[in-house]
């Protein structure tokens, strides 16, 4: 029997009826057509499917969609500001912090949550926060640099906004 | 230059050197080549195992001895 799911995804409110057994990643990808969140292991071992729920990094394969009821979900599709890349996205591009790109959405969403909690992380702090993320391409160091570069950009942006 | 060459007992390969012929021979995995070895009291599996597990050319050397005696000769 279907249940009502009311939540906000990337700023858009949704009111849909779904089978309660569905995972959040399934609803995002298959019901809402948001394919930017990828799936790689379906066991909570790789963090590729990471999204934000109320600003926190969450593995969308490890929560039921119904657990997002009443909450605000942000996926990779919600990061751009119109046509402009978010500073984290731009930092990833500028630092060659992806190769095949399949894990990148999850990396960026996790970074988004991390930098809200810790705006100026050290290399080790980034390593610790991102340790669950599987990447087979990059060797991780360039991702780490991109995240810290993004931290700097966000701090600069914040400082600029303060002076306005 | 050798006066005679050796011909492979099972195909048209010709070589002046029984060792070189042995090398050719152990590269062939068809039934005909393997059966001929059996008639001479050798096993393909044993020869190739020697060749790929022991230092030296033990498999080729053993087969070269046989070919020197048994392989038909053709004029150079």
């Amino acid at each position: 029997m279907k249940k009502q799911l009311k939540f906000v995804v990337n700023g858009n409110p949704y009111d849909i009826w779904i089978e309660p057994r569905l995972l959040l990643v399934q609803v995002l990808r298959d019901e809402l057509g948001l394919k930017g969140t990828h799936r790689a292991c379906d066991e909570g071992c790789c963090c590729v499917c990471t999204v934000n729920i109320d600003g926190k990094a969450v593995k969308s394969c490890s929560v039921l969609a119904m657990q997002a009821n009443g909450k605000e979900v942000t996926t990779i599709e919600g990061m751009k500001n119109g046509a402009e890349l978010h500073p984290i996205q731009q930092a990833f591009v500028d630092n060659w912090a992806f190769q095949c790109g399949f894990c990148t959405s999850g990396q960026i969403m996790a970074s988004n949550a991390l930098l809200k909690e810790n705006p100026t992380p050290t290399r080790e702090e980034v390593q610790h926060a991102m340790d669950g993320h599987l990447c087979r391409c990059t060797g991780y160091n360039m991702i780490n640099e991109a995240i810290r570069d993004a931290a700097g950009r966000l701090q600069a942006q914040k400082a600029q906004e303060k002076t306005k | 230059m050798a006066d005679t060459n050796y011909r492979c007992p099972c195909c048209r390969k010709i070589s002046p050197d029984p060792h070189d012929l042995a090398r050719h021979y152990l590269g062939q995995t068809d039934t005909k080549h393997k059966e001929w070895l059996k008639t001479k009291g050798h096993s393909y599996a044993q020869l190739i195992t020697w060749q790929v597990t022991e230092f030296g050319n033990k498999g080729y050397d053993a087969l070269a001895e046989v070919l020197e005696k048994e392989a038909p000769r053709v004029e150079a």
């Binding site: 930017g36 060659w96 095949c100 790109g101 399949f102 087979r136 060797g139 991780y140 | 060749q51 597990t53």
Partner: protein, 762 residues
């Protein structure tokens, strides 16, 4: 060489904005209207004859649209080593027997993945169990069960390489050592699982397949052979791919069965593996047993080397023979060996098959060679750097009848690493060691085992009236940055900006053949084809400019920054726009198209060029628990001329990551054909906290064979990583480890063995 506008400058990934915003489309993300979902039924047994398959109950399930078994497929045999038909040993589904746990025996198409999965349980297969064999030496015995009925002794392929007089070489050596090494399997474990979407058009008899593949052309050939269709009736499109690492070269049951199911149902069908299938039913790195003998003079000069190798091929051929061949080549590099012998054999076994995985052959050969060099250096009282320097490959070397070496910056790389280690790593802590390893890697392969009549890479460039460019290349970007390199090379040659080029990649219907992404071939081969195509158009544009300026024939023109101009008087020239328009007009209005191709010639049997390098790893060993921490890596690398330094760094660091995995933790233990850890929970990989800082230096050598002098950078740094780590452990503790992985219990046991022989600190 003149200053480049684009080559050698750090350049952002042309796919970057799409990849960071979730807009890049992978096969995994694709759907088509009316699409069905497919699933494969797999054998639970390693070796069995199929007596009967009853699909009637599965067909009755609501939502199931088709169920097929081997008899419903065209039954064509396919494989990658097409030059030898007997090695084309795979079919779409198992026909009469299954040969490994996971071999596909039936396929279902249904309206949802869940229903397709349920339907599998309703397919009844009656098997007659056959004795199975899992060890190569057992498999080649006369009384071993035959895995392929037409292949006696289960010997897939052998190889012998010999030059000089090895036995004489050993006789003349002052020091000879023999060692045996054992290597286990490694998974590719790409983040995007194998998946394909097939759409068959009954009205035209044409098939389109989108697939997560490393080679659209190879997939097209595999489909053609297996389905007995004309190549031209099959279109393969490669969307973005979430990693390959060698595991997506082969044509797989997902694409073949999606195609047959689409033919049967008249609807598009998509098959997506789950992660367990990805670990157990795809391809693995080749496991090997290697015996190596090395002879040196007492001053450390190598006199002779001998290598005996058995590889565990698994149930099918795939690209496994290439691993056998290349190990024989890499065991003779990167040091000069005047007398060399190699014997290798690949045996079939009843396991998931083994194939080409990143740096195949080089990693395994390198681990053994570098270990022997360190141990020989120790016994002879020679510095580990000195012994490498003394024997290092040099430019212009010829391995008789095998390969030649063009440019080679290995000595410079060794010097660089030595200098940096002395400067940076002063004062090692307790139980810390520094290990060295040199490396080399090829730029694509020459031996045409796929048996193609086509040039190995082709490209087409169309320059439009406004100076924009359409670049058509089938080269496969699977993350290594080939798309960006392609655009950079084209832009540099034509003198336009990267932003002016639209890339049309990896579609067999619209692009000339390229053999795909393997053995680091794309920059060299695809790059050369693109450069030639662009040069063809540039020639036309320069001719028009010359005529317009009416300059003396001795003066040269250049194309840069969207201008064609006199090299000695840059202010005399024309904008691209004007010249392109004139060129089109003077050629009867025909589009300006350039076509390029590349196949290596007169370069021996292996590769047109070699990249080289040297690596040092600083490692701390915990003697209590055997844990190994890689603290830092310094690597000097000769890739000729980096096209994109950002991309090169990415490839080197990615290689180091995979090398660390092979060396430290990636294992697939196997019990009677069953892989015991088919999940990321149990298949241990290197994560971000394990990664050391990496200091990378590029040594420029400019190889004339490569586009703008470039050589490979995608795989070379895999091999020296586990080798230098193992050597660092050896230097710190004396522990000799002759197998991967360097897991704690093994390191601990090796340390204890070493302590028995000599004092604790060396």
């Amino acid at each position: 060489m003149s200053e480049y506008s684009i080559i050698g400058k750090p350049t952002k990934n042309v796919d970057g904005p799409a990849k960071v915003s979730g807009e890049a489309v992978y096969t995994f993300d694709m759907t088509l209207p009316n699409m069905l979902y497919g699933k494969l039924l797999r054998s639970p047994y390693p070796h069995a004859r199929i007596i009967s398959i009853d699909t009637s109950e599965a067909e009755k399930l609501q939502g199931v649209k088709a169920v097929i078994t081997g008899k419903d497929t065209p039954g064509g045999r396919y494989g990658l080593w097409r030059r030898f038909p007997e090695l084309c040993d795979q079919t779409t589904l198992a026909m009469d027997k299954v040969r490994f746990i996971g071999d596909a025996v039936a396929a279902v198409a249904a309206v949802s993945t869940e229903i397709a999965e349920q339907a599998l349980d309703f397919i009844n297969v009656e098997y007659e169990l056959l004795p199975a064999v899992f060890e190569p030496l057992e498999a080649i015995k006369d009384d071993a069960p035959l895995i392929h009925d037409d292949c006696s002794n289960n010997i897939n392929i052998t190889r012998h390489v010999e030059w000089g007089d090895v036995d004489e070489g050993f006789k003349n050596s002052d020091y000879v050592r023999e060692d045996r090494f054992i290597y286990g399997n490694q998974a590719t474990a790409s983040t995007e699982v194998h998946n394909s979407l097939a759409s068959y058009e009954k009205s035209t008899g044409r098939l389109t397949v989108w697939s997560s593949t490393q080679s659209p052309y190879y997939l097209q050939l595999g489909l053609s052979d297996a389905l007995k269709m004309r190549e031209g009736d099959i279109r393969v499109i490669k969307p973005h791919v979430g990693g390959g690492f060698g595991g997506k070269n082969s044509t797989m049951p997902d694409s073949l069965n999606a195609a047959v199911l689409s033919m049967k149902t008249g609807r598009p069908v998509k098959i997506v593996y789950n992660r367990e299938e990805e670990f157990t039913c795809t391809e693995r790195r080749t496991a090997m047993n290697m015996a190596v003998k090395l002879g040196l003079k007492k001053d450390g000069t190598i006199m002779a080397r001998e290598v005996k190798l058995i590889t565990d091929g698994g149930a099918y051929t795939a690209l496994g023979p290439t691993a056998l061949y290349l190990t024989g080549t890499y065991a003779s590099l990167p040091y000069k060996i005047p007398n060399y012998r190699y014997d290798g054999l690949r045996a079939y076994t009843n396991k998931m098959w083994a194939t080409s995985v990143r740096s195949f052959g080089a990693t395994e050969a390198g681990f053994a060679f570098e270990a022997q060099m360190d141990r020989a250096a120790h016994d002879l009282g020679i510095d580990p750097i000195e012994i490498r320097r003394k024997n290092a490959m040099t430019p212009g070397y010829e391995a008789p009848g095998q390969y030649s070496v063009g440019s080679c910056g290995l000595s410079e790389c060794i010097d660089k690493v030595e200098k940096r280690v002395k400067e940076k790593w002063t004062g090692l802590a307790e139980d810390e060691g520094v290990g060295y390893a040199c490396f080399d890697y090829q730029c694509g392969g020459i031996f045409n085992w796929i048996d193609t009549p086509y040039a190995f890479s082709g490209a087409m460039v169309k320059v439009n009236i406004d100076g924009t460019v359409d670049l058509f290349t089938q080269a496969s970007d699977i993350g290594q940055g080939t798309n960006t390199v392609s655009v950079m090379i084209c832009a540099e040659e034509l003198g336009v900006g990267i932003e002016d080029i639209r890339l049309h990649p990896a579609d067999t219907a619209t692009t000339p053949v390229d053999l795909g992404a393997w053995a680091s071939r794309e920059t060299m081969m695809n790059g050369n084809a693109i450069k030639e195509a662009a040069a063809e158009v540039k020639k036309i544009l320069i001719r028009v400019a010359r005529l317009k300026l009416a300059e003396n024939i001795v003066y040269d023109f250049e194309a840069k920054n969207k201008r064609i101009y006199l090299a000695i008087r840059p202010e005399r020239g024309f904008s691209y726009y004007d010249i392109v328009k004139d060129a089109i007009k003077e050629n009867d209005g025909q589009a300006l198209i350039g076509i390029g191709h590349y196949t290596p010639h007169r370069k021996g049997m292996v590769t047109p060029a070699w990249a080289f390098g040297c690596m040092a790893s600083r490692v701390k060993v915990d003697r209590e628990i055997g844990h190994v921490k890689v603290k830092e890596i310094i690597v000097a690398h000769d890739c000729g001329q980096p096209i994109n330094p950002l991309g090169v760094r990415g490839q080197v660091e990615g290689s180091i990551h995979l090398g660390m995995g092979w060396g430290l933790c990636e294992e697939q233990p196997n019990d009677n054909g069953m892989i015991l850890n088919p999940s990321f929970a149990d298949y241990k990989v290197v994560r971000t906290r394990d990664m050391p800082q990496i200091e990378l230096h590029e040594v420029l050598t400019y190889d004339p064979e490569g586009p703008f002098g470039a050589k490979e950078s995608a795989e070379g740094a895999v091999a020296p990583t586990p080798a230098s780590i193992a050597n660092a452990i050896y230097q710190a503790t004396g522990a000799e480890i002759n197998s991967n992985t360097l897991k704690p219990e093994k390191v601990l046991n090796a340390i204890r063995e070493a302590e028995k022989k000599k004092p604790a600190k060396r």
